[in-house]
Symmetry: C2
Subunit: 207 residues, 2 copies
Amino acid sequence: MEPGEDRSARKRRAIMDAATEAFLRDGYQRTSMDSIAAAAAVSKQTVYKHFSDKQRLFAEIVTATTSQAAVPVDQDARSLADSDDVEADLRELGRRLLTLVMQPRILRLRRLVIAEAGRFPELGLMFLQQGVGRSGRALATAFERLTARGLLRVDDPALAAAQFSWLIMSRPINEAMLLGRHDPPDPADVLRFVDDGVRMFLKAYGP
Amino acid sequence: MEPGEDRSARKRRAIMDAATEAFLRDGYQRTSMDSIAAAAAVSKQTVYKHFSDKQRLFAEIVTATTSQAAVPVDQDARSLADSDDVEADLRELGRRLLTLVMQPRILRLRRLVIAEAGRFPELGLMFLQQGVGRSGRALATAFERLTARGLLRVDDPALAAAQFSWLIMSRPINEAMLLGRHDPPDPADVLRFVDDGVRMFLKAYGP
């Protein structure tokens, strides 16, 4: 129990935890509101009081899981804007970004969203907006500020932010999806992917 | 019937076509060798004569489908090595690459391989090797040659080849997977993704 959490918030969190576990283990279609209620040790009525239907519940899980990963990157991006060592701070942000998106829970959620995308494209849209979209906006703001400070030369900050993310994340995410790997990546690989991406980024957009 | 194709080759092709259709429509697990035989209008024995089991048959489909997309890119990469207008030829290769990987059949196959990756990681490995791996080797050879000719400045050709591909393909593939879209992309979007990728690539690796 988190400090200050009341009974209703505690139940809501128990439902979210049980539902996340069930969705990731059994897939979206095979998970019922009944089984979530049982796993969370609450009544089915309580589940429906907090979440109007299964799709809404799943949407909240996508938002909560991806936000959890986005917040530290937002913070790194804010301090990047004031950086005096852009290369070092880009590497630090890149390592954090890659480590967060490669968490087993996020990878499994990504796979589940891809599996359901034919039926529920709105879940994928949420995943994109909360993930790449959110960290992209924070990065774009930082790149704009660094360009104004003469430390980068970026003409299209939103594009450069997307390119930075893809240079670092594409290969490990693609391999995790196609090879069915959900383990956290080898720290040496994280360093290598990030260093390679940062090096190319600075060749293209360095002052 | 292809010219010069004998009866056995014709049957083999009918089985591959019927199986591709069935796998993409029903998924790997729900497709049986029986249903493939019926759809191809051959006996089950004939299916087993050509393909020892379902997994082998699926592997052949992954190889055939991804090869079909890789061959034109191989050819473009070979002529890129002798290019006198690297920017224009990179754009042309990029457009071909993106148009090929975004074919509905390749996207659906990618989704299917991702869905089966937990049980059959070897299918994903094949998809990677035949796809990004193969076009990557052809591109790396071209970048090495262009660097020797003073038209690019690439120190790690294999890395630069991977970066080129990811800069162009990441966003459209990721969106297609997460949003469940299998339509060919808007030609204007293809131009934009490729132009953005080529511009950054040449900023980083131009002479």
